[in-house]
C-alpha cells in the first residue's frame, strides 16, 4: 500500500497544515536558539570581551595550563580503557546468549543515572582515609584520593557506558552470521574480530569514543569530590573554571570555559560526520 494513490492524496502532502507546520518549526528553532545556542555563544562573547591579549594571557596562565594538562592526561588514560570495555561488553552481550544478560545491561547503565557527586562519594568511602581501603592504602603509602588515580577512577565510572551504549545496539542489529561464517572458514577469534566485526562497528566505536572523550574532559561533580581541588595540582579544567569564577575573575573563567566549549564543538562536528558515515 506504500506507493499507491494514497501518497498523492492532498491531505497527505499536508498543504492544509502548512501554517501550523511553520509555527512548529519556528518554535523549535527559536527555543533552541534561546536555550542552547545563546549559552554557547555567550561564553565566547564574554571570553573575548576584553580583547585577544587578555584572552591569551588568561589561557596561558600556568595554573590554567596545568589544569588543561591534567584534564588531557585523564582523558588519555580513561578513553582507551572505556573503549576496550565497551567492545568487550558489546561482544559478550550482543554475540552470545546467557542468563542474566538483561541485568548486565542494566548494570552497565548505572553510571548514567547516578549523580557524579554520588560516584565521587562512593570512591571516597572506598579509597579515602576513612574508607574501606583507606588504612591499607595509607600503610602502603599509596594515595588515590586527592591525586590523579582518584580523578581517573571517578572519570572512568562516569563515562563507562558511553562506548558500550553505541556499539551494543549496532552489534545486536547486525547479528553474528558473518562472524560464524568466518569461524567455520577457519578464522581465529582475533582474526574474526579484526577482519569482520571491527569494520562493521568502527564508526559507532569512534562515535562512542568521541562522546566518551567529551564527557571525560568535562566531568565536574565526581572529580570535585575526590580531587580535593588543589590549585595547580589536582584541579582539572572544569574545576578550574569554578575556581576562577569564585575568585571573581569572570573573564578568566570564561576563557578557560571557551577551550572546553571548543572541545565540545569539535566533538559535535566529529559526531555529525561519523553519523553520516554510520548511515552511509
Amino acid at each position: 500500500m506504500s506507493m499507491t494513490a494514497l501518497d498523492h492524496h492532498p491531505a497527505l502532502s499536508r498543504p492544509h497544515a502548512r501554517r501550523g507546520d511553520r509555527i512548529l518549526i519556528g518554535l523549535a528553532v527559536g527555543l533552541t536558539l534561546l536555550f542552547i545556542v545563546a549559552p554557547m555563544a555567550f561564553i565566547f562573547a564574554r571570553a573575548f570581551s576584553q580583547g585577544w591579549q587578555v584572552y591569551a594571557a588568561n589561557i596561558l596562565h600556568p595554573v590554567t595550563l596545568h589544569a588543561m594538562w591534567l584534564t588531557t592526561i585523564t582523558a588519555i588514560i580513561v578513553v582507551p580503557i572505556n573503549v576496550a570495555f565497551g567492545i568487550a561488553a558489546a561482544w559478550a552481550v550482543a554475540k552470545h546468549r546467557f542468563p542474566g544478560r538483561g541485568i548486565l545491561v542494566t548494570i552497565i547503565e548505572i553510571p548514567f543515572s547516578i549523580s557524579p557527586i554520588i560516584a565521587g562519594v562512593c570512591y571516597l568511602f572506598l579509597y579515602g582515609r576513612q574508607g574501606l581501603l583507606g588504612p591499607w592504602l595509607q600503610a602502603n603509602d599509596m594515595q588515590v584520593i586527592f591525586a590523579l588515580p582518584g580523578i581517573v577512577l571517578v572519570t572512568m565510572f562516569v563515562t563507562a557506558p558511553f562506548v558500550a551504549r553505541e556499539v551494543l545496539p549496532l552489534m545486536q542489529a547486525q547479528g553474528s552470521e558473518q562472524e560464524q561464517a568466518a569461524v567455520t572458514l577457519g578464522a581465529s577469534g582475533w582474526q574474526v574480530f579484526r577482519r569482520v566485526t571491527l569494520p562493521n562497528i568502527k564508526w559507532a566505536l569512534l562515535y562512542g569514543a568521541v562522546l566518551c572523550t567529551a564527557r571525560a574532559v568535562g566531568e565536574f561533580g565526581g572529580v570535585a569530590v575526590v580531587s580535593g581541588n588543589i590549585r595547580g595540582q589536582t584541579n582539572t579544567l572544569p574545576l578550574h573554571v569554578e575556581l576562577l569564577f569564585n575568585d571573581l575573575n569572570a573573564v578568566g573563567a570564561f576563557a578557560a570555559a571557551s577551550t572546553l566549549t571548543l572541545i565540545a564543538i569539535i566533538a559535535l562536528v566529529l559526531k555529525a560526520v561519523l553519523e553520516g558515515r554510520k548511515a552511509g
Binding site: 518549526i25 533552541t32 549559552p39 561564553i43 561482544w91 546467557f98 548486565l104 554520588i118 570535585a224 570564561f254
Partner: protein, 279 residues
C-alpha cells in the same frame, strides 16, 4: 543442521569478553557503590533517619525534587517538539538543529552553569530583559530548574526520535483517509505509539536532574533552605568531615537513581514490546 552449528557458543571470546566486562564493572561500578552502601549501613537506621529528616536535608530534597519536576515538564514538551520537528519536516538547517540537541551532552556541565548564570544575571543578555521585568532567575529555584533542564533535554529527544522514526506511516494514512484532523491524528494515533518511549525519556531526564551538580552550583546561590540542592548538601557535609551526613544523603539520592533507572528500563521494555505489536 551440522553439529558445529548446534554448539552452544559458536563464536570465540565469550569467556574473555564476559570476564573482562564483569571484572571492570565490579571494580569500577559495583565495589564503589557497595562501599557507599556499607558506609550507610554503619550509620544505623535511627541516626540515618535523623540525618535525612533534619529540616535542612528535607528542604534540600524538596527543592531538588521541585526543580527537577519543573525541568522535566519543560523538557517533556520541548523534547517532544524537537523530536517531532526533526523527524517530520524538511527545512534548511535541520541537520544543524539536530546536532545542537547534543550540545548538553558534550558541553561540560560547569561550562553550561557558568554561562547560564552570566546570561541570566542582571548584566547578561537575558537578565537585562528579565530583571527589570521583575523575573529574577539566578539564585532562585527557577535557575536551578533551568540548569537541570539544559543538562537533561537530550534524554527526551533521543529516546523519542527512534520510535517516531519507526512508526508505520500506514497508521497515520489510514487516519487521514478516515477524515481525522491533524490534532486528532497526533493525540489518537501518534501520541499513544510514542508514549512509553516518551515516559522513559522523561524518567531518565528526571533522574539526571535529581543528580545534577556542576551546572547548578553556579546558578543556585546555594542558600540553605532556599536554593540548596541535595547533591550540594552531601558535598558540604563532606567538606565539614561529616561523613555520616554525606553518606546518608548520598544514599537517598542513590536510591532515587536506581529506582528511576529500573522504571525507565521497564518503560523501554514496554516500548519495545509495543513497537513489535504495532507492526
Amino acid at each position: 543442521m551440522d553439529p558445529p552449528f548446534r554448539a552452544k557458543r559458536v563464536l570465540p571470546g565469550f569467556t574473555l569478553s564476559l570476564g573482562t566486562t564483569l571484572l571492570y564493572l565490579t571494580l569500577i561500578v559495583l565495589i564503589p557503590v557497595a562501599a557507599l552502601i556499607l558506609k550507610g549501613a554503619e550509620i544505623g537506621p535511627e541516626r540515618f533517619w535523623r540525618i535525612v529528616s533534619s529540616p535542612r536535608a528535607v528542604a534540600a530534597f524538596r527543592i531538588t525534587l521541585t526543580a527537577a519536576a519543573i525541568a522535566t515538564v519543560f523538557n517533556a514538551i520541548y523534547g517532544l517538539l524537537m523530536a517531532w520537528v526533526l523527524l517530520r519536516y524538511e527545512f534548511r538547517g535541520k541537520r544543524i538543529l539536530d546536532a545542537l540537541m547534543d550540545v548538553p551532552f558534550a558541553l561540560p556541565t560547569a561550562v553550561a552553569g557558568l554561562s547560564l548564570t552570566a546570561l541570566f544575571s542582571a548584566n547578561g543578555w537575558f537578565g537585562a530583559v528579565l530583571h527589570p521585568a521583575g523575573i529574577p532567575v539566578v539564585y532562585t529555584i527557577w535557575g536551578i530548574a533551568l540548569a537541570m533542564a539544559f543538562t537533561s533535554v537530550p534524554f527526551v529527544v533521543r529516546t523519542v526520535q527512534p520510535v517516531l522514526e519507526d512508526m508505520d506511516p500506514a497508521l497515520e494514512q489510514a487516519a487521514v483517509t478516515l477524515g481525522a484532523r491533524p490534532w486528532a491524528i497526533f493525540t489518537r494515533v501518534v501520541f499513544p505509539t510514542i508514549l512509553p518511549a516518551w515516559l522513559a525519556g522523561c524518567t531518565i531526564a528526571f533522574a539526571r536532574s535529581l543528580g545534577e551538580f556542576g551546572a547548578i552550583v553556579f546558578i543556585a546561590g546555594n542558600l540553605p533552605f532556599q536554593t540548596e540542592i541535595a547533591a550540594l548538601l552531601a558535598f558540604i557535609r563532606l567538606e565539614e568531615f561529616d561523613y555520616n551526613g554525606a553518606a546518608a544523603i548520598a544514599l537517598v539520592l542513590l536510591g532515587f537513581a536506581l529506582v528511576l533507572l529500573l522504571v525507565s528500563n521497564l518503560l523501554q521494555y514496554w516500548a519495545a514490546r509495543y513497537r513489535e505489536d504495532s507492526r
